[in-house]
């Protein structure tokens, strides 16, 4: 069969696609084996190339190996604690890693979260007689928790959206609730829109006429250490109250479908 194919290859101009037909010669059937060892495996890979191509392949090898090593080194420096090297070359590491190779594997580390942080929100709305009132506090996190309970496939909307939006807010604001720049402002808007969406879901009638302002707070409760540890933590929740935020017309357009 090989012979037949080779003959065909040699004799005719290539009439049609024949990826495989002419392959055997390349990998060594046609090329006389140059090594003298007994039953040599057919030459493959870089060894099957003629010198100029071999140089090209070697070059490719060098480049690929170099890039891979640099990449892994950068990722390592990115995930490792701040150290001599990463402090010196922090910018280079960030340039390499962000935005596409960013990663965080401190999963429940160094310590798992030991507090339940419930985010709650309420809204101001205009009454029919022209007055201004506000709703009760809605525990948005409790809604999430209820959706997660007994669920084999919790949705990111319940498990991550609010939880991470709150993380994002706290990490981009100081304790006086001042944003640390553009990201801080984004997180504020984001949290506000989540609040508007969720309150609108709970109180569609009041939201229909437009909410005026929303306010968000967090209620942080320690998870009590296990009974056998003998430790006791203050069971009193800590409340962080954010200022009232004006709801914009854009915010009112937030949709979940």
């Amino acid at each position: 069969m090989d012979g037949y194919e080779q003959g065909r290859d040699a004799g005719e101009p290539p009439p049609a696609p024949r990826t495989g037909t002419a392959e055997p010669p390349r990998t060594g059937t046609a090329e006389p084996p140059r090594t003298g060892s007994a039953a040599p495996p057919p030459r493959t890979g870089i060894a099957a190339l003629s010198p100029p191509y071999r140089i090209a392949a070697a070059l490719a090898l060098a480049v690929v190996a170099l890039v891979a090593c640099v990449h892994l080194a950068m990722i390592f420096l990115h995930v490792a604690p701040a150290n001599t090297v990463s402090k010196q070359h922090g910018e280079a590491v960030d340039d390499w890693v962000y935005p596409e190779f960013e990663q965080n594997w401190k999963l429940f580390a160094p310590n798992p979260l030991q507090q339940n942080i419930a985010v709650e929100a309420r809204a101001q709305f205009r009454t029919e007689d022209g007055g201004v009132r506000h709703t009760e506090w809605h525990s948005l996190s409790a809604q999430d928790g209820a959706a997660i309970d007994g669920n084999l496939l919790p949705s990111h909307t319940d498990q991550n959206q609010l939880r991470r939006a709150w993380d994002y807010y706290t990490s981009t604001h100081d304790t006086q609730n001042r944003p640390n720049g553009m990201r801080g402002e984004l997180s504020e808007e984001y949290l506000r829109r989540i609040a508007v969406l969720r309150i609108g879901r709970e109180e569609p009638a009041r939201a229909a006429d437009g909410l005026l302002r929303v306010q968000v707070r967090s209620v942080t409760t320690n998870v009590q250490p296990p009974s056998w540890s003998g430790e006791k933590l203050d069971p009193k929740p800590v409340i962080r109250l954010l200022p009232w935020w004006n709801v914009t017309s854009q915010d009112m357009e937030v949709r979940d479908r």
Binding site: T19, G20, P110, D149, G150, R164, D256
Partner: protein, 481 residues
């Protein structure tokens, strides 16, 4: 085996290995299938919530995302247009590409589209993701560089059929079939994608870096197709093959290193935590409202102080130790099983199914080849059984007499093609007495070492470009009488 060879010899043998074959075909295939399935299930799960999570009018609105992305320059096609239709298109593309990547249809192209889909969706709303999204994001990029469709793919099946057409049945209908039915889908796909890329580039939506990457890949696919057609035996094509193997093997190595980094990071940071030291760490997540879908179960578990401590310590030990155990195959396999089981438990207990699935998919890159083959064979047999049961009768009726015996062989042939070839045809050619170290780091002892006079030395690793001119023969896969 001359293990006492000088380092230079070992180096040149190593270079020979990584340039002559795309190693770990089963491992890369299982990673490909694992991640495409995970991503597909995730997209389907969030389908009802897709607007809230990624839509232009969700809480993280298009406008908010745009402000962030202008700053961080992340890639997402969802920023190219703020319309609803475009959003649905991209989401649909993400779903479709993950299905096709899972099946291994035009694998190399689909891996690119899969990456586009995954990055688009994930980068669109970074603040709804978790660790699982993060792994998928990374692996979607690494997979593009691998030949992940060598086995367990429609591409492999197509290649096998083409090979059989050229091989045994050649004299009868193989040749005509091959010539009359060249691959049309590949070139069409290539042109469509080229046009789309041109439009996107022209509209100025791509950063220069991404434009360079996409155009390079597009040209590389075209070049490979052209070489396969015009100069299949040429040195240039051999060079392309070498470079592609190189990229594959490097990407495979990076995937493994990435998995190790994940565990190392998770483990070493835990060691520093007081709760992991005092043996109560596992207790806490079970009491977080966001990670306790089964409160009763969590309560029950958290009365078992000793068990909690053992799990806590065990988790740290396994995570820290895992990268080092790669140097010993047996220990590695034990830890691998432990980690997969732990992730399966986490999936249910902490309500993190997609994260766990993604981690299991990443772990799977370390599974031993023999195990993967066994699974593959079993799946193929199961498939064959189902097919003969459901299709056996009508096929006997509708097709020629010679095919009655062929039904079984046919189904058997389509399913386990890759196994049949690599398994029976080429019994571990180089890997026989492989030195201790190699199989661990490169799990596959040389997959496709161009068997002696096999019909198609190169057609089984579905070569890189989709428009490769594999003739898709109409009938020739029928078993020869």
């Amino acid at each position: 085996m001359n293990r006492l060879d000088r380092p230079a010899g070992a180096l040149s043998r190593g270079i020979g290995r990584i340039t002559s074959a795309a190693l770990g075909p089963y491992q890369t295939a299982v990673v490909r299938i694992g991640f495409s399935v995970t991503w597909l299930l995730f997209l389907l799960r969030e389908f009802p919530h897709r607007h809230e999570l990624y839509g232009p009018q969700g809480p993280w609105s298009w406008e908010l995302a745009n402000r962030l992305i202008l700053d961080n320059q992340a890639f997402t096609a969802l920023m190219w247009n703020d319309g609803r239709v475009w959003f649905e298109c991209v989401y649909g593309l993400a779903v479709l590409s993950s299905v096709l990547l899972m099946l291994g249809w035009r694998t190399r192209t689909m891996s690119v589209l899969f990456m586009v889909g995954a990055l688009s969706v994930l980068n669109r709303s970074v603040f709804v993701g978790d660790g699982g999204d993060n792994v998928i994001h990374l692996m979607a990029m690494y997979l593009v560089l691998t030949r992940c469709g060598q086995v367990w793919s429609l591409d492999a099946r197509r290649a096998a059929r083409a090979a059989r057409a050229r091989g045994g049945g050649f004299h009868e209908l193989g040749e005509e079939a091959a010539e009359a039915d060249p691959d049309r889908v590949g070139p069409v796909l290539w042109w469509i994608l080229g046009l789309s890329l041109a439009v996107v580039t022209f509209l100025g939506q791509l950063g220069w870096g991404w434009a360079l990457i996409f155009w390079t890949m597009w040209l590389a696919h075209g070049l490979w197709w052209l070489l396969g057609r015009q100069a299949p035996g040429s040195q240039l094509r051999a060079l392309c093959d070498v470079v592609t193997n190189l990229l594959h093997n490097t990407a495979l190595f990076v995937i493994m290193a990435e998995a190790c980094l994940i565990y190392a990071t998770a483990g070493w940071y835990k060691i520093q935590g007081s709760r992991w030291q005092d043996g109560t760490a596992v207790y806490y997540p079970l009491h977080l409202d966001y990670f306790s879908p089964w409160p009763a179960l969590s309560q029950l578990l958290s009365t078992q102080g000793t068990a909690i401590m053992l799990i806590t310590y065990g988790t740290v030990v396994v995570q820290v130790a895992f990268p080092f155990t790669l140097f010993n195959r047996r220990v590695k396999n034990v830890l691998l099983a432990a980690m997969m089981i732990e992730h399966a438990v986490i999936a249910v207990l902490l309500g993190l199914p997609f994260f766990s699935l993604a981690m299991i998919a990443a772990d799977a890159v370390f599974l031993p080849t023999t195990f993967l083959r066994r699974i593959g064979n079993r799946a193929a047999r199961a498939r064959g059984a189902v097919f003969t049961r459901t299709r056996g009768v009508p096929e006997q009726r509708s097709e020629a007499g010679a095919d009655t015996g062929g039904t079984g062989a046919d189904t058997g042939g389509t399913g386990p093609v890759p196994e049949a070839r690599t398994g029976a045809g080429a019994p571990e050619p180089y890997g026989t007495g492989a030195p201790e170290l190699q199989p661990e780091l490169q799990p596959e002892p040389n997959p496709n070492p161009e068997p002696n006079s096999g019909p198609e030395p190169n057609s089984e690793p579905e070569p890189m470009p989709q428009p490769e001119p594999n003739p898709a023969p109409s009938a020739p896969e029928r078993p020869r009488p």
